[in-house]
Amino acid sequence: MINSIGREIPQSLPGYASLTPFGGAFALKPDNRRAGPRLCADMPHSDKRVKSIDAAIDACGLQDGMTISFHHHFRNGDFILNTVLEAIARKGIKGLTLAPSSLNDVNDAIIPLIENGTITAIETSGARGKLGKLLTSGKLAKPVLIRSHGGRARAIECGDLHIDVAFLGAPACDCYGNINGVEGKSACGSMGYAMIDAAFAEKVVAITDNLVPHPLFPISIPQTDVDFIVVVDSIGDPKGIASGALRISSDPRELLIAQYASSVIEYSGYFKQDFSFQLGSGGASLAAARFIREKMLAQKITGSFGVGGITTPFVDMLEEGLFKCLFDVQDFDQPSIQSIKRNPNHLEMSASYYANPHNRGPIVNMLDVVILSATEVDVDFNVNVITDSNGVIMGASGGHSDAAAGASLAIVVAPLLRGRLPMVLKKVNTVVTPGESVDVVVTERGVAVNPLRQDLKDNLRNSGVPIMEIEELRQLAVNLAGEPDSIPLSDEIVGLVEYRDGTIIDAIRRPL
């Protein structure tokens, strides 16, 4: 069947009960109820500690065919996901659904467990490296399901994603299960993605290398959510968890894109006192922070709140008083982790508060402006951030579609050419964010405004940025590089991209 943005979606697929085609960013009105774990009772003064990961797996009653989850706050420094899965595999448990908030290069280590049938299904935000290639190759019995951060929170809360056991790496954990992410050698900052898993999984195991006396505070994940605690030597490699301060690019092309993006904001009509702002972590969007900061200082404008994965440029603006507060779902560098620990105006939030479309209002709904990166954009303004130009999974849906849907002004930045490859195409390989949510596409050679936004087009007339039609932008790329041949794809569907509301926005087909 064809969904509302013209993508061919399968009617049914092995392992999937029913598929609803995407019908528009806010078309679906939910009518079901929240799900939740079975009730339980803990006896006073009980000891939640178990002696090993193995013992925790046994205590949870993990069985063939269950669903397990992890958070990705430790990014490429994560030891938990690989270690726990190896322990599970040793027990001979098979047919698991793996549902982490995302996967990184470090998780290439689980490939043998997919090949031997320990893991037969994956639901996550994205994947990279060899694992991304493997998922694209169709080796998984059930095609991979890609969800946005907000979509995952929604799926967990409504029961679409029922987690049997959540294994949560905990940088600091007390002996009754209160957790935070800001203390200890493996501090990661916000625990935003893990909060939903903790609240809705049937069983929750906290794994820590920093057990502290009760009560630990501040509390990110409360003792009321945690069943078992395992103490290990190390839950992650601090160098992989967070980089040093992320600094602004000196690549002139990225700076030019950033400059155009910041001029678009300045002239858009949304750049005014108390505007709210989200910044992606890509090079050009980070660099835009610098120009926006200069414009805010020059025009004596301060913002209300900042959102996102948080990076140093944003923290600097908070400290300068350019924003009142930051809502933080994940931290990317050490200064951000220090900031959320020390600055009371730097607030931790859950993935549901961040972006879940089916609660009483996530923070993205209050966003004025967001700058997002893209792998590819097409002439309908659809954005791909999940597959590369050869159709292989190598990215993550992340909060892309969530922030784009919520913000009044969603700016997508991308180089017009990567090497020889045009990034503005007739059709993107895979749609993650629908064109209706994208207002402006900014490249180093031109800026295109969504025809749905004539108001923006008018406002940007005197901005000094080279405004053109998106088709002209595409033509500019083709004039330089030539028209690319479309990559050959098989009919075999290896993945589904779920829109944040649970409908299917696109299918990923195996490249030939």
Binding site: R420, L421, G482, P484, D485, P488, P511
Partner: protein
């Protein structure tokens, strides 16, 4: 004009946006034999090959072995590197004033 390669030669680099083209003489009558390695083979393999074959013809070469290690070069870069590789392979002096 028909030119003949006197030796193997190459031009270009393996930096991004460049292409390294290696040419060597081939038996008379063996034609133009091209191999291409490229990260954009699926999207541009056909056009890279066409650009190389057209460039060989323009240079009046009939028999040649070409290996192209492409890093996402535009057609104009491919043409430039090919022309220089051929120039270096056909010139009388090996150590010449380039």
């Amino acid at each position: 004009m028909s030119a003949k390669l006197l030796r193997a030669a190459q031009a270009g680099t393996v930096e991004s946006n460049d292409i390294m083209i290696s040419v060597s003489p081939a038996e008379p009558g063996s034609g133009c034999n091209v191999t291409i390695v490229s990260p954009v083979l699926k999207q541009y393999g056909r056009q890279i090959k066409a650009a190389i074959e057209a460039g060989v013809k323009e240079n009046g070469i009939e028999d040649i072995i070409i290996h192209a290690n492409d890093k996402g070069a535009l057609d104009c870069t491919i043409k430039a590197r090919l022309n220089v590789a051929i120039l270096r392979a056909v010139s009388e002096e090996e150590v010449m004033t380039r």
